[in-house]
Amino acid sequence: MARRAVSIISPLGLWGAAAAALLLFLTLGTLAAVAWQAEFTRGLGRADIAALRFTLIQAFFSALLSVALAIPVARALARRQFPGRQILITLLGAPFILPVIVAVLGLLAVFGRAGIFNQMLNAFGFETVSVYGFSGVLLAHVFFNLPLATRLILQSWLAIPAERFRLAQSLGFAPRDMFRQIEWPMLREVIPGIFAVIFLICTTSFAVALTLGGGPKATTIELAIYQALRSDFAPGKAALLSSIQFLLCTLAAWSAWYFTRHQDAAAGFDRAVQRSDAGAVGLRIQDGLCLGFAAFFVILPLAMVIKSGLTGILNMPDVVWWAALRSVLMAIASSIVMLSLVLPLAQIAAKEKRAWPEAIAYLSVSASPLVIGTGLFILLNPYFSPRDLALPVTIIVNAAMAIPFALRGLLPAMREVEASYAPLADQLGMAGFARFRLLTLPRIRRPLGFALGLTAALSMGDLGVVALFADPDAGTLPLMIYRLMGAYRMEQAAGAALLLLILSLALFMIFDRGGQKNADT
């Protein structure tokens, strides 16, 4: 059937174009502003090439491991019901949202030289195993991204209509056939995109890679950019390095598109999955082991963060609580802004089968936070006082940074809606907002809640982009954590980190739960 194209002058087209323009401005626009500053551009030195090489290799393997481990974990979560499942899913969101310094200390409390793991080894008479090095970089990146990958894959698993599983069951499919016929096509559709996003996140890693990598061998492009934009002040070089990041982004996005196989969906009756195919004992044990591994790997470091924060949280100065309130309000504002940007993009991508909204969203994953912040500063500073803009800039940038993840979560569900119901809706003449509200919205509630929650939580933990705009009297909670640490107050800093963890998870849970309400219609 010929589909009527949404023209650029339709409200949806305009809205989408505005959202895209904002994202392009924040990524390529700020890069141009930084490049404009440069009088000349020094080429890349030997050290930069080494940094580029290390960045690519670690990002590739980090993404590969994260996704490979996430598939069995997501599958176990999708087909098992057990007490505490919901809490486990929520906690899986935590590593991704913690400020880097907090997460790294938590991770080291488990896997570091003095961590639980080595204490156990020593107790049994084994030598201390050092985590620092390439394996440490992978460990940390998997810790951060395995949960994200799991959530995104789980989202798609749950979006498979229950009828397909029922049909398969009545046809007597074995679990292996079930995987090949139903789950594998779904994975083929979502895995390349998730891999690309995690690959790109890992290319902009800096403090984590350096600390766990054990030294300057673990220098990433982002560290080189950081160096170029500070005392060296070579914006030309920063712009050049940042352009390389965008080039990588383009390659990753293209590869993701190339390897993605969109499946032709047959509509179901729109009901939640009831799986009875996974009752075999072997499968139960397999799923149990996967979940146990994920829970152990993710929750143990979090438990260490909680443990070290317990004494400090009762003993925090008022300014920390005010900062917490400010952070929560800003996080909610960011989520709302994110929603207004991602919906038109997702709608266009799903309905029009266009690739550009996704491509643009990828840009903001691979943009260097420091280049965004510096570029914005260059552009805005001649006209406004950075202090006055701290609030709006932080909210908008945080919203934009969350869009790639939100889009990854939303797109499969929206494509499914389009594929399954568009012909019927078109016949009925359902269009515009009514179509969105009555048809699409109820079917994307789950990923939408996830996207809102993730944005809120991400912006709670954010620090990087807007450091140049910071208003010393209106600090956010992550900034307070760094300030407390900088003033030797490690115990209070640990308390503030625990508060941040609690608030981020609470925000995430509220939005995420909201999305799941009535999801089993």
């Binding site: 080494a50 600390t211 010393p472 490690m490």
Partner: protein
């Protein structure tokens, strides 16, 4: 001119306070935090200046320089406070600052200070801090340290001022032998972190036997936490100094007030505040002396510092050596 119109609009919005002159001071973030010297310094200076002192804070000393570069002639800064001597070189002075007007300021630095632009307000010695309840024998110098099994955590000179200080320390003490020292140290280094907080936090968690910090760090634990378990290791080749300086910008709207602020920063009023808020030595010891507890600190026998004139060139060469030695 759009810029002027907008600026006028912004000024009008704050017309109520337009009567009192505003002194804009750019500094690093931890200076202005509630636990740093900022709030007390602001109150004390406003008592005498009949002005409004406003701090703007960015990351650290290196970020301050980046900000000055970004703002160019538009900078609102009258004073920049908190660059250390490794970054405060002559090129920077020529580019952004004017000479100070202090005549023969009385300073108590362990070295001669004679610089036309930068006024030091506090200083410290870099040192490795260890837990004296866990570590018995400590090395006497970098060679000893390299030969020992002790594990250390340090900062990256590309992203951290203490990290830069350590690199300059080894260079100042060993000159051409510095690369060999770094190569020998590499198996002692647990890891290199982005900033001081990460490495100090890791040290306190037991991840390393020692962390690079300051000889004044034990003073915090002793005075604020009543904990005497942290000590600094004295190295016999001498300790490199971090001297934190302030300077008046070329674009200052309030040059006189700015000079007055520099003078204030080395007066008793400010110098009494700094030791127990910034946890550094005062640049001009106040009449009342140092706070109780500071007398327990390790005092190095020899002070090392690469002078501001050479800092820039030494920095670049030493960084290449550092990277080569530790990337093997």
């Amino acid at each position: 001119m759009k810029y002027l119109t907008l600026a006028a609009g912004l000024c009008a919005a704050t017309a109520a306070s337009a009567e009192t002159p505003v002194l804009n001071v750019y500094t690093y973030d931890s200076f202005t935090s509630d636990w740093g010297p900022g709030p007390a310094i602001e109150a004390a200076f406003e008592d005498i200046c009949n002005c409004d002192l406003q701090f703007s804070a960015v990351g650290d000393g290196a970020a301050l320089i980046a900000r000055l570069n970004l703002e160019g002639d538009h900078s609102e800064a009258d004073v920049v406070l908190g660059i250390d001597t490794n970054l405060a070189d002559q090129a920077l002075a020529d580019q952004f600052f004017v000479p100070h007007t202090l005549e023969n300021p009385t300073l108590t630095l362990p070295i001669e200070w004679d610089n036309a632009t930068y006024v030091p307000y506090d200083w410290g010695y870099f040192a490795f801090i260890y837990d004296n309840t866990k570590t018995d024998s400590v090395p006497a110098n970098f060679r000893d340290l390299a030969a020992s099994d002790l594990k250390i955590v340090i900062q990256d000179p590309r992203s951290s001022t203490p990290g830069l200080g350590l690199m300059m320390w080894v260079k100042a003490a060993y000159g051409d032998e510095a690369p060999a020292i770094w190569a020998d140290l590499s198996d002692n280094i647990v890891t290199v972190t982005k900033g001081w907080s990460e490495s100090y936090g890791m040290f306190l968690e037991g991840e390393a036997d020692m962390a690079l910090s300051y000889t004044t760090s034990p003073a915090y634990h002793l005075i604020a936490e009543d904990d005497a378990s942290k000590s600094a290791v004295a190295f016999d080749e001498g300790h490199y100094m971090q001297i934190e300086v302030a300077a008046v910008t070329k674009s200052a709207d309030q040059p006189e007030l700015a000079q007055q602020f520099l003078e204030f920063m080395i007066s008793d009023a400010a110098q009494t505040i700094l030791p127990t808020t910034n946890w550094m030595y005062p640049a001009a010891t106040p009449t009342a002396g140092l706070p109780e507890g500071f007398e327990t600190l390790t005092v190095p026998e020899k002070s090392l510092l690469i002078p501001a004139e050479d800092a820039g060139s030494v920095r670049e060469a030493a960084l290449t050596e550092w990277l080569d030695a530790l990337s093997q």
